[in-house]
Amino acid sequence: MNEHAVRLGTPYKLSCSVNGSRHEIETAPSARLLSILRDDLALTGAKRSCEIGRCGACMVLVDGKPVNACLTMAYQCSGKSITTIEGLSTINGNDPVQLAFMEEGGFQCGYCTPGMVISVKALLESSPDPSDDEIAEALSGNICRCTGYGGIWRAVKRAVEGRRSSG
């Protein structure tokens, strides 16, 4: 139909990096990143909840930026570097953000926690000492129904300190 524009049909081979490993995934170009992660790669840390980007339970980093995996289509990930909650823990242990959530009790049922941790991680990468306004804005897309956010506020503050003291 068009001689110039690239046409992506099904099956589509998505080539991207997930948690540092290269992946070639056969899928549909419009398949949602959330189902690619959960169903194809068995990475279930990103959770299925609202599926319209209104809760943040499926938050992942794409090239370091937090995005809702439920809103992201396969072709939008081509050549990108994707980090899920499973990619945050290192051989040396948990990320300081994860430690802070455990120490302060920044979670209860835990279903929002992977997405919440991802958003905090992205915030602190771009703003290591965020103001309360910045914290509220950065986490406004992550709904937690259990904690009332008290433990989450404390966890973010502690993570800021933790990162500062660790260098």
Partner: protein, 762 residues
């Protein structure tokens, strides 16, 4: 002492489920998959009320990749469920009564095929008149939704003569209060995996608050022995009462048994909204009067609840509301009437607070209005009318007496927020349209299911062959911190190390039936179980150790890692638990079972144990927009000893957040039986931006000498007093009495002061 990390010292611990939750490695039941797994979907009604003329599944069955299409014809046992009264059809046969009613279910090789199959099922409906208003539902000429009529349940409680009482009153306040259809909005929607096992049994991996109740209900539907069904029910991505009743389990189970293959069902958010439970919307009319001194003389209440199409726990919720519209005050004359009406609206049912949220909003609203009428300070007015220790409960039933009421009253009276209110001076700000106010509310909140309802409790301690101390309960972990609380109790009461302990919950094949994880009861019942188990378990453990070591049992004690001598506290281990487990002798195992303590009354639903709570709230009203912000909260909670500081704080903070949503942002709107709010883009639960204010929690731990009941529940009490406190703060700030939730900003708006005559800034 305020509850926070610093004040909790070593009792503030990392939860045992923490690492799995912060790393995403914890597998929820909706994350499970199996080889050759099928995907299940349920076809639900397009209409709130209709006769089913014809259901045709032929085309769907022919679709390639479809493995089963089930309807009411395919239910081997009872085609109905419901905890209290099974009147909700698994699959509707003749009539659909709400937009969540199930008509058919499909299992297919992929979600896409299952979805397509649903679209191929042809259903012909003959539309019936929609009963979307509980008041209309109770009129004699309304379409009747059930053979027994549209009144699911009626309650009444009277004493004295209210008509005569009002005649003696100097001040009378009459008001009608409305509360919203609130959605639990657990982040994990309903779902699970249903596996037919090679030996003919069925394993159900699906969240619930009472695995044995699910097992009983499924056995009834499947016509299978209960022992052939295993229900695995934790971990749970939030419940708040919403997953206590069956949801997708009947469909998953039927599809798995029909196909012989594992079936996964995981509701989309919209499916969860349309089919799931909500908090009962209530209309509560109150007329309350005092004498000239402010003593309550008469209190007349009329409660109307919209219970939706089927029973579930609607009757029990109304009982609870009936008790809590009376609450912690003394009246000379009392008349309470309640009705819960069937409608074609969404299903109402169990939700944290269980009818107390609505009742307390109304009751505390009356107290504030009366105090103002009397020109009394509202907190002093409450004190004047409060039940005394030793007084009976709201239904005049005997209760476990504590000083809780006076304790939480005094805590708020002395709180910085309340002192700020009493000593406030008028200040002119540069934004005079922002007005702040402070309000408070108070309650006694019942725990347990109440008199007349089976409320079993119990648990087990055993020494496993590998030397782990196993604590085995049928309670569930849905985020509240049950595992952490149990671990801490075992450490503190028995001297174990965390590594010595293995907690086993949420699996009907291995746990005893210790009742449901509802009604703020689980922590109290675990505490009580351990109290009862302690002596026999110590006896067995130390007795065995004694015979191994040749040391008298009374010289030995349990400790971290194993058995030590009582003397020389830090001395070396005499025997590890593993060595103890491998020694000769009978299995070391202790069970206990008992009933949740109940009042000696004949009033069904009346409670025996209460948690007392009072809350002060500071809020601001922007009169340009009518929007309300909660700036600060102070919670005083008298519930006995704090079992788990982090969990306690989390329950109060989290409960208060739900109450804030109930007061300000949340309403599952329905129009003519259809949901308007279908997802989280329009149904708005609080975000972190709603929660920028300080929340202070003061636990009051002391109990009367000789109290044998220990910790009272705190799972619900954080969520029941915040809304009336916000309403009082709004009155204080903007001079408007709010009687309908969520607060309508239109009621709080005003013309900018500079446009008013004289430019009055007040």
């Amino acid at each position: 002492m305020l509850l926070n990390r610093a004040n909790s010292g070593g009792r503030w611990r990392i939860r045992p489920d923490g690492p799995g939750k912060v790393t995403g490695s914890l597998t929820y039941l909706t994350d499970l998959t199996r080889e050759n797994m099928l995907y299940g979907l349920v076809l639900r009604s397009e209409h709130p009320h209709a006769r089913l003329a014809r259901i045709h599944t032929g085309k769907a069955k022919q679709l390639h990749g479809v493995r089963a299409v089930l309807t009411h014809e395919d239910v081997p046992g009872l085609n109905a469920f419901g905890i209290a009264n099974p009147d909700q059809p698994v699959f509707c046969k003749d009539v659909v009564r709400y937009v969540g009613d199930a008509i058919a279910a499909v299992a297919a090789d992929s979600p896409a095929i299952a979805k397509q199959a649903l679209s191929l099922i042809e259903v012909e409906y003959d539309l019936l008149e929609t009963v979307d208003d509980p008041e209309m539902a109770l009129l004699p000429d309304a379409p009747q939704l059930h053979p027994g009529g549209n009144a699911l349940h009626r309650t009444s409680f009277c004493k004295g003569d209210t008509a005569a009482g009002f005649g003696q009153c100097v001040h009378i306040v009459e008001e009608t209060y409305y509360t919203p259809r609130q959605m639990h909005t657990y982040m994990e929607t309903e779902g699970g995996l249903f596996v037919p096992e090679a030996n003919g049994r069925l394993t159900v991996y699906s969240p619930t608050q009472h695995g044995f109740m699910d097992r009983m209900q499924l056995a009834r539907i499947l016509d299978m022995p209960q022992t052939d069904i295993r229900v695995v029910s934790s971990p749970i991505g939030g419940s708040f009462g919403g997953k206590d009743e069956l949801n997708v389990q009947p469909y998953g189970a039927l599809l798995a048994l029909r196909t012989g293959l594992p079936v996964k069902i995981h509701n989309s958010r919209w499916e969860s909204v349309r089919a799931g439970l909500k908090r009962h919307p209530m209309k509560i009319r109150m007329k309350t009067g005092t004498d000239a001194s402010g003593k309550l003389i008469a209190h007349a209440v009329d409660i109307l609840a919209d219970t939706g199409p089927y029973s579930t726990l609607g009757a029990e919720v109304l009982n609870f509301a009936t008790e809590h519209v009376i609450g912690p005050y003394r009246y000379s004359n009392l008349s309470v009437m309640g009705a819960s009406a069937f409608t074609n609206n969404g299903m109402s049912g169990e939700f944290r607070g269980f009818g107390g949220n609505q009742a307390i909003f109304a009751l505390e609203g009356q107290m504030d209005r009366l105090a103002e009428r009397l020109g009394m300070e509202p907190w002093a007015f409450r004190k004047l009318n409060m039940r005394e220790p030793g007084d009976p409960g709201p239904f005049d039933q005997p209760i476990a007496a504590t000083e809780g009421a006076g304790q939480v009253w005094e805590a708020v009276a002395k709180s910085p927020l309340w002192l700020e209110k009493l000593n406030r001076s008028q200040t002119v700000t540069c934004e005079p349209w922002i007005k702040t106010g402070i309000g408070a509310a108070f309650t006694m909140h019942g725990a347990g299911l109440g008199f007349g309802i089976p409320d079993p409790a119990g648990g087990r301690l055993q020494l496993a062959p590998d030397g782990k101390i196993e604590a085995v309960f049928s309670y569930e972990e849905f985020g509240q911190g049950l595992l952490a609380s149990l671990e801490l109790m075992l450490i503190e009461q028995f001297g174990f190390a965390a590594e010595d302990i293995r907690i086993i919950i949420g699996d009907t094949d291995v746990v005893p039936d210790s009742g449901s994880t509802t009604a703020s009861r689980a922590t109290a019942m675990m505490w009580k179980s351990l109290q009862r188990l302690k002596e026999p378990f110590l006896e067995q453990m130390l007795g065995r150790a004694s015979s191994v070591l040749g040391i008298p049992a009374d010289l030995l004690r349990l400790s971290e890692g194993g058995i030590r001598l009582k003397e020389n506290g830090e001395a070396a281990l005499q025997l590890t638990y593993k060595e103890l487990a491998q020694a000769d002798g009978a299995e070391i195992r202790c069970d206990t079972s008992f009933h949740f303590p109940v009042s000696s009354t004949d009033r069904v639903g009346a409670h025996f144990m209460y948690t007392y709570s009072a809350v002060a709230v500071k809020a601001e009203v922007n009169t340009l927009t009518g929007r309300v912000k909660v700036l600060e909260q102070f919670h005083a909670v008298a519930a006995g000893p704090v079992i788990n500081p982090q969990g306690f704080l989390g329950q109060i903070e989290g409960g208060s957040s739900m109450a804030l949503g109930f007061a300000l942002t949340e309403e599952a709107l329905m129009e003519k039986g259809f949901y308007v709010t279908r997802n989280m883009d329009t149904y708005l639960v609080p975000t972190i931006a709603e929660h920028r204010g300080k929340v202070t929690v003061l636990p009051i731990e002391e109990l009367p000498a000789g109290d044998e009941y220990g910790p009272r529940g705190i799972g619900e009490v954080g969520s029941v007093t915040v809304a009336p406190a916000i309403a009082a703060a709004i009155r204080d700030a903007a001079g408007v009495w709010v009687s309908r939730l969520p607060v309508n900003p239109l009621e709080l708006q005003d013309v900018p002061f500079f446009l008013k005559e004289g430019g009055d800034r007040g």
